[in-house]
């Protein structure tokens, strides 16, 4: 698909052909302005129905074009979490419990089911202690967890997550990645935009690199992060991969490029022993 915003001259994304398998965590990386958020908005259907512009191509979920589905009902299929924790609360509820229930109310779920589903979700995300707090009084990290809980309560099979930790501190980031891990273990299909490469290397199954609106690389974490090509697309390496690539460049014949802490430790131990 391709898309040009109504107010822009050039296309934000061009000829992107992307398949995400069921149950896979696909990470979308790229420099600022490379079109990551645009891709997220297209997949969730906000483009072209909310942000207008010229769009070609289609988004299929299980073979069905999302154009056929009502934008509100699409919430049943795709959960959407984005950067700013401060606007991801509905603003009409005065407790976290009701906030998490809001999506289910909108979908017309039975009240008894809503109650049990919200309880489960609060437990799962670990925010039971916040249930009676006003969502406005929470910290950024807590708000972001409430936003995740609110989406998770609706139990969509697919999650589109756009830079969830960019405004959070290290502890908040860790909490969010715990949640993402949990979603993955529950078999959710996830598209994640994130700048913290170490975390992507650790959690993602599939990495897609965007550069200037085009899809330039796609593969497993070791394929993408182990390749010298990545540097030409203005994307940072995970620190372990960067170190390994440096070592290889200096003439040491490494068998593989370690991309996670675990792999790096294993390789290093092996090297020490031999």
């Amino acid at each position: 698909m391709s898309f040009t915003y109504a107010t822009a001259k050039d296309s934000s994304v061009r000829d992107i052909d992307l398949t995400i398998e069921q149950g896979e965590l696909c990470a979308l990386v790229g420099a600022n302005g490379s079109g990551k958020t645009t891709v997220c908005n297209i997949i969730r259907g906000f483009i072209p129905r909310f942000h207008t512009g010229e769009m070609s191509g289609q988004v299929l979920i299980n073979g069905e074009d999302i154009k056929e589905t009502n934008l509100g009902l699409l919430a049943l299929q795709i959960g959407f979490v984005f950067q700013n924790p401060f606007v991801q609360i509905s603003g009409s509820k005065d407790t976290v419990f009701e906030e998490v229930a809001f999506g289910l109310e909108n979908l017309g779920v039975d009240v008894d089911i809503i109650r049990s589903r919200v309880e489960e979700t609060l437990e799962l995300i670990g925010i039971q202690h916040l249930r009676d707090s006003n969502p406005f009084d929470l910290s950024g990290g807590q708000k972001q967890r409430v936003a995740f809980a609110s989406i998770l309560a609706m139990d969509p099979p697919i999650f589109v997550i756009d830079e969830p930790t960019s405004q959070l501190d290290p502890q908040g980031t860790e909490d969010i990645f715990e949640i993402i891990k949990l979603l993955k273990n529950n078999g959710k299909t996830i598209l994640l935009v994130e700048h913290k490469m170490e975390l992507i290397a650790e959690y993602a199954d599939h990495v897609v690199v965007l550069d200037d609106g085009a899809l330039v690389m796609s593969g497993t974490t070791s394929e993408v992060f182990g390749s010298p090509e990545l540097a030409t697309h203005r994307v940072a390496y995970p620190q372990y991969a960067e170190a390994a690539l440096g070592v290889r460049e200096s003439g040491v014949p490494l068998a593989r490029i370690a991309v996670t802490r675990e792999e790096a430790l294993a390789d290093l131990t092996e090297a020490m022993h031999s």
Binding site: N70, G72, L76, G79, L107, D110, F136, I151
Partner: protein, 249 residues
């Protein structure tokens, strides 16, 4: 007692407040209005909100009442003149007129304040949805109320930010007025900017899904509410009928 008063259906509470408040304008003695105010204060104290209520009345109603009383007192004319200076006349008639008017405003105002004090906005909107207000209407009311303290916080942040850039926000009236542009400008613009993201948030929660919504928080009208409403309305009609009968005699 307190919990019973609070548990009344919002509509019932409003009907009681309006019936008593409007009756104060109809009943020909100003003692009714003052007595009604006394009753409102008692109810507020019974519900444990007495002090806050008196403070609210002092801050919102008192100045209005004093102003109205003085205006009516001086400019209503009359024959039994006690004091006169130019156009300003205090007479037996003007005293009666101003007392009657002020007692009416006092009764209506104090009962409406009491209504809002004892009825959470959540209950009011829940009752409005019962009456058929669409979800978007409920959302607008609730989010506006939640947003006010948020915007106040945000404006304090902006003020601080502008102070560090050397904009003076305190001091004389004119200095404060000048500070309006650099403080209110960003506040309004950022609020407009965040509406777009707010829409995305609402869409992500299926707000526009074309299915009948369920509501976690509901208020229900019990039989006692209906009974009280009927009694109050009958009494109110009797007051009107009595007043008409009195003026015909």
């Amino acid at each position: 007692m307190a919990s019973r008063i609070r548990a009344l259906y919002p509509g019932t509470k409003l009907i009681i407040a309006l019936a008593i408040g409007i009756s104060a304008f109809i009943v020909p003695t100003y003692w009714f209005g003052f007595a009604a105010f006394g009753l409102a204060v008692i109810v507020a104290f019974v519900c444990g909100e007495g002090k806050a209520y008196l403070k609210l009345v002092r801050n919102s109603l008192l100045i209005l009442l004093i102003f109205m009383f003085v205006m009516r007192l001086l400019f209503s004319g009359g024959k039994t003149i006690y004091w006169q200076w130019g156009y300003m006349i205090i007479s037996a008639e003007s005293i009666a007129v101003s007392l009657a008017f002020v007692s009416g405003v006092l009764a209506l105002g104090s009962f409406l304040l009491l209504f809002f004090m004892l009825t959470p906005v959540k209950d009011i909107t829940a009752a409005l949805s019962n009456a058929g207000l669409p979800p978007s209407g409920t959302y607008v009311v609730l989010s506006a109320i939640q947003m006010i303290p948020e915007m106040r916080k945000q404006s304090a942040t902006i003020m601080d930010a502008q102070k560090t850039r050397g904009v003076e926000t305190e001091g004389k009236l004119f200095t404060r007025i000048k500070a309006f542009v650099p403080t209110l400008g960003p506040l309004i613009l950022s609020s407009i900017a965040s509406t777009e993201e707010r829409v995305i948030t609402l869409e992500s929660r299926g707000f526009t899904a074309p299915v009948p919504k369920t509501r976690l928080y509901v208020v229900t009208k019990r039989r006692v509410d209906t009974t009280i409403e009927i009694i109050v309305i009958v009494a109110f009609v009797a007051v009107i009928a009595g007043r008409i009968a009195l003026s015909l005699l």
